[in-house]
């Protein structure tokens, strides 16, 4: 019976702050358009319908993102309850109520109707940390038609809310725009269930199932009668037994084929679902590997440059040293250097002697020369003094000798005699010659051409690296930095596994079909002989033979009727949905030429399924994911189904943002089509497409649609605006 939602009231529901009276939406029985900006409260209103119809709300998932339907509990109530109320108004231990009330009327006939008030509330208390739920309250009231007073009843809550939109229709009549594709199934059992609910096509499925079972039972009874038949020869009975066994094998084989079909169907679904993700992941993987390869080459080039270039630069920067070294390595120069070193040593010695001679007398000087040649150790001289004995002449040391050794010889050999500047310079010159001598050996055998060669090599390596860098930049400009995540690997694995499974199932199916042919031909051969051999039989066998033939022919007739029924249905639904679709797309020059094709698929067990596609004028399937044509395809099919239903189902169509992806012209056409559409009893369309944030009012399309519904008494136009000052929602009825 047709349902009309009269009003919905919200209390402390998201941004709808305040009691029910403040947040009431009253609807008309036709087209109700609710318009508002982002975050005005449209989706929150849609969620209020969801709360009543499904007992859940659509909330964003923490961490992982995305939206999921959830029951309201203590973990998420703070997301639903008005934030300003919780954070500012409520004090610790204060109680409050979150709730939604919905009033609807069920029309029983032209003279009779019932009105229900459905209330779903959650009573909670503010705790130090969060809101503590104290009670969930679901109540049903019937509105007295005369006094209009609500009277509480014991009706089962879910039973009454299912009157508004039954569960199996929810995914068609209660839709979320952005998720229209996910929530409105266009294939599989859910679609079939809905189709059956609307057009009762499933009746023939039951009849066909029954006739198949009847045929199977008749065959079995025929077999047992035949086996007990005395008139039949042993050979005939053997043949019958063989035939029965073959039939059992055939049944098993049919089951295997069915299993294969199911595997094929499931994997086709997985393949189709993951196709886009797989392709993008595969492409991403290839790009990532390409980028990794470039980055790897850059790293290698860098390492090469680090060793080669640094070596080159070090050598290049020391070219002066090199030149000197080259000079030193020339024949004769090294010899000279050696001579210079010896000379400097001699100069140093002479200077030291000269210095010492200033303090030593002639005899002492000679003595030192002699001692120096014998390389005396200062430790021995120390010992001589401490023992007061000369180890050379083996006599006691004289006072003079002790003084000479202690104050002159020891400082001389220890080098602790005071240095002068000249001696220091001579030392430096000596060290310089030594250093030159050593470093010159580093470049022995290397000439100036070495640097020229190295320079060319280094430039080549640097250029190579620059080329790689530029290749990398070009790549990133074109493809981005190419990030991959685990989900992409899942897509790759799942898709590839589905392909393998599909291939395996297809091969298995082929094998079982071969087996089926073989079994059928063996059975046919036995049946051919049966006709010859089973003539004079008992009346009971004659009877069962006749029933089996009847059951077989009846089953064939019903299967044919079912085929025709489904084909005709598919064609009709295709036509009706196409008409709706083209009506929506009337202003779209390309899409208005598209049409909707409904196909039927039949499996081995005579089970049917539907597949619905949008095709262009060249009969090519249009499957751009998320495209507007795809969203409207679903709406068109639902409306097409309703067109086909002989009796109107009369459920309200409640859609949040169903037209967000359409062009302005198509949006207008969509509303026009809804306005003229007789298949639905009531429509609630929540959207922001008719709203101008700049004007804080209707935009051009909004004005156009507003004019369109201007004279329709069954339509209503409501705007929803978030009131920042009062932290609540302003509801205005433009019509």
């Amino acid at each position: 019976m047709p349902i009309t939602i009269n009003k919905i009231e919200l209390q402390n529901w998201f941004n709808y702050k305040g009691d029910y009276a403040k947040n009431t939406f009253e609807f008309k029985e036709g087209l109700n358009i609710l318009v508002g900006d982002n975050n005005a409260g449209k989706t929150k209103l849609h969620n209020a319908f969801r709360f009543i119809l499904k007992g859940e709300v659509l909330l964003e998932r923490e961490k992982v993102g995305g939206y999921v339907e959830q029951k309201i509990d203590e973990n998420n109530i703070s997301k639903v309850l008005n934030k300003s109320l919780v954070n500012r108004d409520l004090k610790l231990n204060d109680m409050t109520t979150l709730g939604v009330k919905l009033t609807f009327t069920e029309k029983i006939d032209d003279y009779d109707s019932s009105t229900f008030l459905v209330t779903k509330e959650i009573k909670c208390r503010k705790d130090a940390q969060n809101m503590v739920i104290k009670e969930y309250v679901n109540t049903i009231h019937r509105i007295d038609p005369r006094t209009k007073a609500p009277r509480k009843t014991d009706d089962e809550f879910e039973k009454i809310t299912a009157k508004i939109i039954p569960n199996n229709f929810l995914s068609f009549f209660f839709v979320e725009g952005e998720q229209l594709g996910l929530m409105t199934p266009l294939e599989g059992d859910k679609l079939k269930d809905t189709i059956n609910s609307i057009v009762n096509i499933g009746t023939i499925d039951d009849i066909e199932n029954f006739s198949s079972d009847f045929l199977r039972e008749a065959n079995q009874r025929q077999y047992s009668i035949e086996m007990s038949e005395v008139s039949l020869s042993q050979k005939v009975k053997d043949d019958l037994k063989k035939k029965e066994n073959l039939r059992a094998l055939l049944d098993d084989n049919t089951g295997y084929i069915y299993d294969c079909d199911e595997k094929i169907q499931n994997n086709e679904l997985i393949r189709d679902n993951f196709k886009t993700a797989f392709e993008s992941s595969k492409q991403n993987k290839a790009l990532k590997s390409q980028l990794d390869s470039i980055l790897g080459k850059i790293n290698t080039a860098e390492a090469v440059i680090n060793t080669t270039v640094n070596k080159y630069i070090a050598a290049y920067m020391n070219q002066t040293t090199f030149s000197i070294c080259k000079l030193i390595n020339e024949d004769g120069v090294r010899k000279n250097i050696d001579e210079y070193i010896e000379n400097v040593k001699s100069f140093i010695f002479e200077r030291r002697t000269e210095l010492d001679s200033k303090k030593l007398n002639k005899h002492e000087t000679e003595m030192i020369h002699l001692l120096e040649k014998s390389q005396p150790k200062p430790e021995i001289l120390d010992k001589m003094i401490s023992q007061d004995w000369c180890f050379v002449c083996d006599n006691k040391l004289s006072a003079h000798s002790r003084d000479f050794i202690g104050n002159k010889l020891l400082p001389f050999f220890r080098g602790t005699l005071e240095d002068d500047i000249e001696l220091t310079k001579l030392d430096n010159i000596g060290q310089m010659f030594n250093s030159l001598n050593l470093s010159s050996q580093m470049y022995y055998g290397i000439d100036i051409e070495y640097f020229d060669d190295e320079e060319a090599g280094v430039i080549e390596k640097i250029n190579h690296k620059l080329e790689l860098e530029s290749e990398k930049n070009e790549f990133i400009n074109k493809h981005g930095t190419v990030q991959r995540d685990d989900e992409e690997d899942v897509s790759l694995v799942t898709y590839e596994r589905a392909l393998r499974e599909l291939d395996k199932a297809a091969r298995e199916k082929e094998r079982f079909i071969g087996e089926e042919k073989r079994l059928n031909s063996e059975i046919a051969e036995i049946e051919k002989n049966e006709k010859r051999d089973t003539k004079n039989v008992s009346p009971k066998l004659t009877q069962i033979n006749s029933v089996v033939s009847f059951a077989k022919l009846l089953n064939e007739t019903i299967v044919n009727a079912k085929d025709n029924e489904y084909s005709e249905f598919a064609d009709r639904l295709g036509e009706k949905a196409t008409r709706r679709y083209q009506e929506f797309m009337v202003n779209n020059t390309v899409a208005k030429k598209n049409h909707i094709r409904v196909q039927i698929k039949k499996d081995k067990k005579n089970k049917y399924d539907f597949k619905i596609d949008v095709l262009n004028k060249f009969n090519e399937i249009q499957e751009q994911p998320g495209g507007a044509d795809q969203s409207l395809r679903r709406v068109a099919v639902v409306f097409g189904l309703l067109d086909m239903a002989e009796n109107k189902r009369g459920y309200p169509f409640i859609a949040d943002a169903p037209i967000s992806k359409l062009s302005p012209d198509t949006k207008t056409a969509f509303f026009k089509s809804l306005l003229n559409y007789q298949g639905l009893s009531q429509c609630m369309i929540l959207n922001m497409d008719l709203w101008s944030a700049e004007k804080q009012g209707l935009n051009d399309i909004g004005d156009e649609v507003f004019k369109l519904i201007g004279t329709d008494i069954k339509s209503r136009f409501i705007t929803i605006q978030h009131n920042v000052q009062n932290n609540c929602v302003d509801i205005n009825y433009l019509k």
Binding site: S211, I225, K562
Partner: protein
């Protein structure tokens, strides 16, 4: 599918006609099949009302075989 439409298809089917050659198929609808003297027509009652009534599918099939004393 409309049961009566299916019944018409079955009753008029060339391959099945011989089972009710003595009966007038035009007088039957999905609700009066059991009133026929023809057991095959009576059997159609159970087939067409497969999803109706309180009895199970098994009992309905058994009902058909009882018609033929099988």
């Amino acid at each position: 599918m409309n049961k009566d439409k299916l019944l018409r298809e079955i009753l008029k089917s060339d391959s099945l006609k011989e089972y009710w050659k003595d009966a007038d198929p035009e007088i039957f609808n999905s609700r009066n099949l059991l009133s026929s003297d023809n057991n095959y027509i009576k059997a159609l009652h159970y087939v067409l009302n497969a999803n109706e009534g309180g009895s199970s599918k098994k009992l309905k099939i058994e009902g058909i075989f009882k018609l033929f004393n099988l």
